[in-house]
Symmetry: C2
Subunit: 339 residues, 2 copies
């Protein structure tokens, strides 16, 4: 028997149940007795019946599809985040349709149209290109993660606290000049909080602070020349002072560490470093790098949960326009670069 | 006007086209003139029409869904591979439903049932747990990547050649004892070719070879103690000989390099290392590590193309049972650990 072709008639004939009972079994399993469910389940197995969920989707409007648009899986943070999002599949029964935007606005808009045409129930937006005002105008629930979120609900790490923790760790080492290296972020970016948190604690502690804020790319070969220039500047300018350097991500922190090691063959006591993300490189570096850990599993869990809640509300016809910005705590991980 | 509710009648009324023309536009756009297409496209935009692809799917049996099951996105190789697979979305119009197996057989079987119930047109199987015999019994096209593939078509890197290239690079450095560190792989695993390739070239060059084959995990903290023991053994046993060490992946090669650097503060001239994968860590290490590069973009491209071809053949009712095992060339990348 070709399995695709099993009809309700055949199931009814084979099991003796009415088509109404069989229909109830498929559409509202709890409305039939456990015994009936077991008998039908066994019969369907025997008949090689394969459920066509798409047909049910059309009947019931529930696809269980969630769209995910991420910027670039080659950055560890996004790979880890997607790992944790996909792990939520079992808990919620969601299927994740994943697109990678790579900073291409036109492509991301097209992906969203695609996702809508396949009746996704919600969207997890991690890419940065589409403004939250546009996302808010979609008529499906949207949660953003770690990006501009003025018009949508979101989950972000506590970047501000992360900046403060980094400053505190470096101050605790007795650093005399505090330096922050970051991209030239816009204030609407959640990661901007790292700059403000660092700056504020330095001011509170009355420690001189200097910021090097310009884009330095994501890849080793892009980061290296920028970091080399910053290193040369710092080395010359703060020759005899104990330098506390907070770098906005661990990949870049590791590049700085390598430049220091290539220059001095060791990490001199007047250079202290804290990175951000607690990504594998912070542990894999020859001198393990202190870092600020983002709780990525919790970020993913909260985002999927918030999205699931919005989807449920929407089904009940409720339309809650309040925005929630969920801030997830970060943690300082001390390693050898702050000892 | 609520956009979901736009009907063919309304479109016909608004545009003056017949319902037959409109239906042809949706189901076979090339069968209507370019001018008609443009007029209809503009009208649909005005009407806020949103295509319901799922309804079309049921009518035409074409979901454009491809299932992807990967083991673990936290390993760079898989994140990179998924990056390249997702990048094929634009070329083929496929939507990728992504699941992460994490070595859980029961979960992966469930994911496959889910994917089938959503009428995926094909499956890219990167996870290892489900035997290829089971995959071959699914009635959709399946392509595997870098895993046991006796009963399905597949794309793999040229692991055998990779092993030979590693041996050649170490022999060219004048190494006197050749060492290979790998997991205890089964011969059906494509990566087993690395062991054989290395072993064979050493034999051809009449160089003594020793293999350390036991599982050492994927994470730094798992790899470290295993690698430390191997390092201590090698150091003692081959004290006065020039050691050429081929490590089965760059993460593990970097751990070995760190242990050497922590012991000697430099990489002594009698230790030469080649890793595998050319993953970022090989470049990010304080002493950049020579490696064997897998052409991941091409692996992904070939896999999606082979799957697309099989899907087309299946639609035409052809049933080609031949298996194709597509082997993608690898490349030696010389860096400082073989200088």
């Amino acid at each position: 028997m070709k399995r695709d072709k099993v009809t309700f008639n055949e199931i009814a004939h084979y099991t003796g149940f009415s088509k109404t009972t069989i229909s109830r079994y498929f559409n509202d399993p709890d409305s039939v007795s456990e015994k009936t469910r077991e008998q039908l389940s066994a019969a369907l197995k025997k008949l090689n019946y394969r459920e066509n969920k798409l047909a049910r989707v059309l009947a019931k409007g529930k696809t269980e599809f969630i769209g995910v648009i991420i910027p670039d899986l080659q950055m560890h943070y996004y790979a880890r985040l997607l790992t944790e999002i996909l792990a939520m599949s079992d808990l919620y029964g969601y299927k994740f349709l994943v697109f990678q935007g790579r900073g291409n606005l036109e492509a991301e808009e097209r992906y969203i149209r695609e996702l809508l045409s396949y009746s996704v129930e919600g969207l997890l937006m991690v890419s940065h290109t589409i403004p939250s005002a546009s996302l808010a105008s979609l008529d499906i629930p949207v949660i953003t993660i770690e990006r501009e979120d003025r018009h949508v609900s979101s989950v972000n790490a506590d970047n501000y606290c992360g900046g403060r923790l980094a400053a505190k760790a470096l101050a605790d080492c007795g650093c005399e000049i505090m330096i922050h290296i970051n991209a030239d972020l816009k204030p609407v970016s959640p990661a901007y909080g790292r700059i403000i948190g660092f700056r504020n604690l330095c001011a509170e502690l009355k420690l001189p602070e200097e910021e090097f804020l310009h884009s330095f790319g994501n890849k080793y070969e892009e980061i290296y020349p920028v970091m080399k220039t910053v290193f040369d500047t710092i080395r010359k300018k703060y020759k005899d002072r104990k330098k506390g350097i907070f770098v906005s991500n661990d990949t870049a922190a590791n590049v700085l560490l390598n430049i220091i090691l290539q220059t001095y063959r060791t990490l001199p006591d007047d250079w202290k470093i804290v990175g951000f993300d607690d990504s594998p490189i912070s542990q894999e570096a020859v001198i393990p790098i202190s870092s600020i850990r983002q709780d990525i599993p919790r970020i993913a869990t909260e985002a999927v949960k918030m999205l699931a809640d919005q989807i449920e509300e929407k089904k009940k016809g409720k339309h809650d326009t309040s925005l929630y910005h969920n801030i997830i705590p970060v943690e300082y991980i001390g390693r050898r670069t702050t000892q």
